[in-house]
Amino acid sequence: MLWQLDLAVLTLVVVVGIGSIMVKDLLGAAIMFGAYSFLMCLLWSIMGAVDVAFTEASVGAGVSTVFFVAAVFRTTRRTKD
């Protein structure tokens, strides 16, 4: 485990996590959440959990982003916060 890489990705994860709940557009939030999931996948492959990383890459970054986009497409992009 490279601790420098680990630290950098962990910090980025927090930034993207805050971004995904602060952005004032639900489609943007969905895409930011996809980026968050992908960074998490990177983090887990750094920490050696390859099976978890594979699952996160296919489930978190793939299918759940599609679900979010589908739900936002069927409802609205508007948000007050």
Binding site: I21, L26, A29, D51, V52, F68, R74, T76, K80
Partner: protein
């Protein structure tokens, strides 16, 4: 004193980040007004827990939890200290897939609420319920 403190901070960096992510998720679930934002917060909370479990499974000097020389060579002795702890990985692998299932149900509820009230904002939904 300062050096020891910094040592403690760096030695448990993953744990501090999981606490931060958990706080972000909890705050979003409580304080955000939009239902989709609440669902994003719920997912961030879930990934924070997964980060905690995977951090527990890390071992210094351990390699991936796949036995080397796996094809037929039974003579090799396997030492537990050489491999990462596979148990948290197993538990979290299933947790991720269950999290996408709960996400599907949550989004279905959100879409249903939108069909009923034409809005996703919590206060507007409450106002429309009171109107009726």
């Amino acid at each position: 004193m300062m050096g020891e403190f910094m040592q403690a901070v760096i030695a448990k960096y993953n744990y501090w980040i999981y606490i931060t992510l958990m706080m972000i998720g909890l705050y979003a679930m409580i304080a955000k007004n939009n239902l989709i934002k609440k669902i994003v917060g719920m997912n961030i909370f879930q990934t924070a827990i997964i980060l905690f479990y995977v951090s527990i499974g890390v071992k210094k000097g351990g390699t991936l939890p796949i036995v080397e020389h796996g094809h037929g060579a039974h003579a090799h002795a396997v030492h537990a200290a050489d491999y990462l702890n596979p148990l948290p990985h197993v538990l979290m692998l299933t947790a991720i897939v269950v999290s996408v299932a709960t996400l599907g149900v949550a989004l279905a509820l959100g879409v249903k609420v939108y069909r009923e009230y034409q809005t996703l904002e919590e206060d507007e939904i409450l106002a429309r319920i009171r109107e009726k």
